[in-house]
């Protein structure tokens, strides 16, 4: 028997486990025709070396038996997500996802739709045969009204299961795709048109133009329960009546839906900035943080000190904690900062803990602080009872002392909020508290380090550095005079 070479396909299909050239498709199946066309286009355009096919789960799962190119076999529904990964990882390759109507239309619809919306640079071939072939002819989102399937034994009832999903029409609402078309393989003329469309899909990927979707109406004689000729007729008559053929969009050829052009104008208001480029991680992370502290060194003679800072969100509690932590780092201490977070971030009370130690820090949580700084009543009442004997509590003077600290704990009432207002900088109440920490020698850290850390905390607002340094000094002087 004479062997006819099939372009783009392996000459035998050993991956199928059989040393033959017989595909697994049923007689008259649209997949078989499309597989041949895809292989031909890929080969004729000289793209086999650079093409990566992303194969689906469904009847198309075995294209890797046939197409002579690299393949990645994806999970059910996820070929478009996987193709996103492939095309992002290999932007020079030609990435083609091949999906059926369960894979793309149902379980993986959002992945396909979002990939299209992002304008991922791959081509998606979507085989619509109006049902699930591989699993036994069940209803698909594309099943026609009244069509009998194994899960619509009385015909699809739109009152219960909705209407057929028009994938091209839905995707055509998006701005990013550059090509959207629906073709068919129901007869010779249509097959020739289909090949042209597949070629276009490959061209767009070869030239890295953007996202392309090609929906192909395909007969499934086995599950239609028809002979191949009748199945092709069904595909041509019934399916095309529901899913009209045509090129919905081919941007480079001037085929663009009017509405999409208008939308594009409307959304161009905000500016996208170019990303500053760096050559290496060292360059990226080598930027000074304003503190430039050395690595910690072990010094067992330095006892561990635990701090808790608490107040309302917006009072600068978290940055006050960071300030103390950074000052400790300047003294080569082991240092840990931990915030309360979650819903508390968005209004209400906020708190953070800082641990400073001469040896590596164990438990990160601060159950019994040596130093508690409170800016509001709820946090004072919540934490004051936990303070360690010999510890210090600094509380804003606006907080009524409804609860006395434990015995042996020193309490300082500091009008931080009032002082900040008096200085004309209400936001600097946390700087007032830092002044109090210095004035009462509460941190065990060098004053100069606390000041350096305060200045570094305004790295992004350099105009505030001197202002806060000045406030720190004035507040400290005021506190020491009282």
């Amino acid at each position: 028997m004479k062997t006819i070479e099939q372009k783009g396909m392996y000459q035998k299909f050993p991956r199928s486990g059989k040393d033959t050239r017989v595909t697994h498709y049923c007689a008259g199946c649209g997949h078989g025709i499309v597989n041949k066309l895809v292989a031909e286009c890929c080969a004729e355009m000289g793209l086999q070396d650079q093409t990566i096919f992303v194969d689906p789960v469904g009847c198309g799962v075995f294209t890797y038996y046939y197409w002579d190119a690299a393949h990645i076999s994806a999970a059910h529904g996820r070929a478009s997500a996987a193709a996103t990964g492939v095309s992002r990882a290999r932007p020079d390759a030609v990435t083609i996802a091949y999906q059926g109507d369960g894979d793309l239309g149902a379980i993986g619809f959002n992945n396909a739709f979002q990939a299209a919306s992002r304008g991922e640079k791959f081509g998606c071939i979507f085989i619509n045969n109006s049902l699930y072939g591989m699993t036994g002819g069940q209803m698909a989102p594309t099943t026609l009204e009244g069509e009998k399937t194994t899960t619509t034994p009385f015909g699809r009832d739109p009152a219960l299961t909705g209407h057929p999903l028009h994938v091209c029409e839905v995707f055509n609402q998006l701005q990013a795709p550059v090509y959207i078309a629906r073709v068919s393989v129901a007869d010779t003329k249509r097959i020739m048109q289909c090949k042209q469309a597949i070629k276009r899909l490959f061209e767009i990927q070869r030239d890295h133009k953007g996202y392309a979707l090609l929906e192909i109406l395909a007969p499934c004689p086995t599950n239609f329960r028809m002979d191949p000729l009748k199945a092709a007729e069904f595909c041509k008559n019934e399916m095309e009546a529901e899913f009209p053929l045509g090129t919905f969009r081919d941007v480079d050829k001037g085929v663009t839906p009017e509405a999409i052009g208008a939308q594009h104008q409307a959304s161009a208001a905000l500016e996208v900035k170019s990303v500053p480029q760096v050559a290496s991680c060292a360059e990226l992370f080598g930027v000074s943080d304003g503190v430039d502290a050395p690595p910690a060194e072990d010094d067992p003679s330095v006892p561990e000190r635990r701090f808790k800072f608490a107040g309302y969100g917006g009072q600068g509690i978290l940055s006050l904690g960071i300030c103390v932590a950074e000052a400790a780092r300047l003294e080569k201490r082991h240092t840990l900062w931990f915030p309360s977070y979650g819903p508390e971030q968005r209004g209400g009370s906020a708190s953070c803990s800082v641990v400073v130690s001469g040896t590596p820090i164990g438990s990160p949580t601060v159950e019994h602080p040596d130093v508690l700084v409170c800016m509001n009543q709820p946090s004072y009442e919540r934490f004051v009872g936990d303070v360690k004997k010999g510890g210090i509590v600094i509380v804003d003077a606006s907080v009524p002392i409804t609860k006395q600290p434990p015995e042996g704990v020193k309490l300082y009432q500091v009008p931080a909020i009032q002082m900040a207002e008096d200085f004309g900088v209400p936001k600097a109440a946390n700087t007032m508290m830092l002044a109090a920490l210095r004035a009462f020698k509460a941190t065990g850290l060098d004053d100069a380090h606390l000041e350096t850390a305060l200045c570094a905390s305004f790295k992004k607002k350099p105009q505030l550095v001197e202002k806060n340094r000045d406030l720190l000094h004035r507040a400290e002087a005021a506190l020491l005079n009282n």
Binding site: R15, G17, D49, Q50, I52, D55, V61, Y64, A70, H71, I72, S73, A74, A75, R78, A81, A82, T84, G85, V86, R88, A89, R90, A93, T95, N110, N111, Q114, R118, V275, Q277, V278, S280, C281, A282, L284, F285, G286, D289, V291, A293, P294, P295, I322, A325, E326, R329, T335, L336, W337, F338, P339, Y341, P360, I361, G362, S363, P364, T365, E367
Partner: protein, 353 residues
């Protein structure tokens, strides 16, 4: 170079030094800072950040990128980690290297955003379908969030397996100093098996399907051998353990509570030490057995006892049935962290003091 950063940011730094080229992720508290850092830093280095539409998409984007021969990662927390399990099974089934960071929050269901270690079973035993495992590392500090992310990429590439960095909401949020690596790692070469869109890789096929039962069994046997061989890379550390009567076994953030607990009890003259598994899979079974033999054992954990059960299993498999039967546990759930006070009380009770 030392930076004072949130642990979550340290993950991104580690990934960049490890040569990770692509980040795919969907935001979720308390892991979101990883996405924030990646969104900013990956593009600055000419690498790729994609905000996926869901965690199912993230993990399948990784499947594609890893299948195309590049190092890639994602980060998530409980609910997102659950959504990824199918995809992680596919990664394991296709033997693809990829790194998944799980910053564990409290569950089940929506739960809350506070720390738990309750994803233990899916993070350590393979949470999806089929006979697979992941290489799972449990950091306990910002430094380790950086270092173990790097290690996770190395192990993922070495063993062709998905690797999990298993952290928790507390560590994700805390700031500590991180000493960054001196140099970036070179990119591994996966052209032997990856689909790279190049002439040399044209015949490569990335798949997890074996239609033939016999072939699927052979593949599974290969996987199991690989997991046995992975034991060579098991890691653990001990602290004050040599003469300890009571060994506290804990991982991740709980191991730091264990450390302070042991120090506190030592000051009271009680002989207490710590055994900390660093890799949860492969589990450092032999080292645990060596440290725990003939000792009293207590775990500290932030789950319902999944970890204690694994400790018992590993002790029993190491032939220490008696020790396994007597493993005690102190734990908290719901986002509460075991306090040193409570751990000290529990240890004293076990020691009869």
């Amino acid at each position: 170079m030392t930076k004072f950063v949130k642990s979550n940011e340290a993950v991104v730094m580690g990934a960049l030094y490890a040569g990770c080229d692509l980040y795919f992720g969907y935001p979720i508290t308390p892991a979101s800072e990883i996405a924030h850092g990646a969104a900013k830093w990956f593009p600055m280095l000419g690498r790729t950040f994609v905000q996926a539409e869901c965690e199912t998409a993230s993990v399948n984007m990784m499947f594609g990128a890893a299948g195309a021969g590049k190092l890639c990662m994602t980060a998530t927390s409980g609910p997102g980690f659950s959504l990824m399990q199918e995809g992680i099974s596919y990664l394991a089934g296709a033997e693809l290297p990829a790194v998944i960071v799980d910053v564990n929050r409290a569950g089940p269901g929506l739960g809350n955003v506070y720390p738990e270690q309750s994803d233990y079973t899916p993070a350590v035993k393979g949470g999806g379908h089929g006979n697979y495992q992941t290489f799972t590392l449990a950091p306990a500090s910002a430094q380790e969030m950086c270092d173990f992310t790097i290690k996770a990429f190395q192990m993922a590439a070495k063993w062709r397996t998905p690797a999990v960095v298993f952290a928790d909401g507390l560590q994700g949020q805390m700031m500590e100093a991180v000493e960054l690596p001196d140099a970036e790692l070179p990119r591994p070469d996966f052209s032997e098996w990856a689909a790279q869109g190049e002439p040399a890789t044209r015949r490569n096929l990335v798949k997890s399907i074996f239609l033939d039962a016999a072939a699927q069994e052979v593949f599974n046997e290969h996987l199991q051998r690989k997991y046995e061989d992975m034991a060579a890379d098991a890691m653990a550390e001990t602290y004050l353990a040599a003469d300890a009567e009571l060994i506290i076994v804990a991982f991740g953030i709980a191991s730091r509570v264990a450390r302070t607990t042991a120090e506190t009890l030592r000051r009271k003259g009680l002989k207490v030490g710590v055994f900390r598994p660093i890799t949860l899979n492969p589990f450092p079974r032999e080292r645990l057995a060596a440290a725990a033999k003939g000792r009293k054992i207590m775990t500290i954990e932030l789950d319902a006892g999944q970890f204690a059960d694994d400790v018992r299993l590993n002790l029993a498999k190491a032939g220490l049935g008696a020790e396994a039967a007597n493993v005690m546990m102190i734990h908290r759930m719901g986002g509460q962290v075991v306090t040193v006070d409570d751990a000290v009380k529990a240890a004293k009770m076990i020691l009869g003091k």
